[in-house]
Subunit: 341 residues, 2 copies
Amino acid sequence: MPDRRPRPRVTSFDVAEHAGVSQSTVSRALANSSAITEATRARVIKSAEELGYMVDTRAAQLRQGRTGTLAVVVICRPGEAASEINPFYFSLLGSVCAAASGQGYQTLVSFQASADQLFGKYEESGQADGVIVIGTTANDAAWNYFRSISADNRSVVFWGSPFDELEWIRSDNYEGGLIATRRLIEAGYRNIVHLGAVDSPQRQFRERYEGYARAMADAGLVPRLQEVDYDADRETQGHNAVSALVAKGEAFDALFVACDSIALGAMEELRIRGISVPDQCGLIGFDGIREGIHTSPPLTSIEPDFDVAGAMLVANVLGESSHRLAERRVPVRLLDRGSVR
Amino acid sequence: MPDRRPRPRVTSFDVAEHAGVSQSTVSRALANSSAITEATRARVIKSAEELGYMVDTRAAQLRQGRTGTLAVVVICRPGEAASEINPFYFSLLGSVCAAASGQGYQTLVSFQASADQLFGKYEESGQADGVIVIGTTANDAAWNYFRSISADNRSVVFWGSPFDELEWIRSDNYEGGLIATRRLIEAGYRNIVHLGAVDSPQRQFRERYEGYARAMADAGLVPRLQEVDYDADRETQGHNAVSALVAKGEAFDALFVACDSIALGAMEELRIRGISVPDQCGLIGFDGIREGIHTSPPLTSIEPDFDVAGAMLVANVLGESSHRLAERRVPVRLLDRGSVR
DNA sequence: CTGAAAGCGCTTACAG
DNA sequence: CTGAAAGCGCTTACAG
């Protein structure tokens, strides 16, 4: 069992004494100030290494008035366990952390769900230079809270905000809808129905529908929307939407679904009903989550470029107001897996 | 476009002046010191709210000598994108963040992969009170680096370390192997083969094998091991292991696989070869990743209790040396989905 | 090129 | 119960 007594902290004064220079020289030498002789710098670095010295980040940041940290808030559904969070957000979180690191920023990550424990005042409390908010749209209290935060604050950026006035970054949903629908049309499907919503707080859902509708119209086909019920969990939405569609008795031979989680439920319901994918029904989702790799058949999907998404979120939260949100659309691509002929 | 000029920070001196008290009284009032009259406290709180004051966390922590922060390092494979990280680690990350938050700690998260950019000196640089390391065992450079960090440091805890001398927390792998194998035996399978490894850096793999071997012996059956090749990616390991097993020509009617990612590859290879699951071959994995929900059939698996895992990691990194690692085994349970009769 | 000194915004002995 | 003062460990004008 290792020793755990708190070691007295080695400070820049200790290094200064050891190297025979002043404390300010130590600070400058270690900060690569050009005012310092290379000989002096080498001596300081040597002493620092011998003493095991590291600059105290808190003190440096306090003095500099910056934090070198970005806060990343993942909004969850109340009561949701970590293993139940939509894996899409985990991928996005990973990309954001990587992009922040690339810009020399740390990431302070929190998962927030319950209305009475929301916190976003990272700038006021000197904990971060900006806040990136991602996560489920289903938590109204959280979004309203962060909208209010955003009004006071300057550096908050949102992924997929339900509020258009906030500074959001989103997938190029319209383009995704276009790509997916064209893929289905090219494969020969004609009775293509969209499973989604046009009036939900999920702005991206409407955008995906509009891309779909455009591609249908371009091909001389009539767009058809099967609404999902926003309250149920995603997979149940997929089950129910397919059931409702079948109950209507109108023929369909392909589904473009507003997101992969719903598409997984839809695929399962199709299987239950003996409708084979992709022969009797083509199927394309949206988000590119890993779970779609292992379904039978693997789920064809539209995926945003996660690296670009992370980079865009970080760039915008750090950017000057004049440069902000010049780019707020993340490009998407088709993951042509197996649920389309 | 909101105004982004840096507002001058409101300090405790501003609040003091506004409330007509000293700065130290402001500090005490806001820290809920019992020395302060409720009347005074109320006045201070009111002033603080009117001025929009928040305690500067950096300054408070600098003075107090603590950070209130835990660093969480996710070790990745070099070159791995965020969307490719084993989702198991994302779930664990979520649980750790939740557990830390429950203990009043923030979480500074980093994804580390490349050997020249490893960083773990969060305590020395005053950025965190402890470090939790999780992630793939496949990155030797990273594990060696963090082993060296752990020697100097006191507060580093590892999930699934390949080195026994480190302070590790793990799933109760032996128990998981027992449960899985018994489940297969009870279902009537007899030629049960383990897909895994006994000599890999993955200590948990050996433990899972030992649980399996015990259950087999208890039932009067002979344990059989099909080694996976450590170098390939996980799913390929599953494909190859099944192929190798078939090539041997020895009968098998069930597989207990060392982890879900390998099991997914194995299931796919069984499908390719026309061996139906669960009728001709039962299949159980380990980790309980979500991707197993949507396979055909859904993958039966052993899952650790993520809440306990997060709590245990946090408790141990914060704990006194005397209390540390009294508990280092996370309980597991069977996810009885569909790949066993 | 280097040093002495101020100050970032707090908490907490020390006095009263 | 409250205040004046020191000090956490840095960076950075200001001097020389």
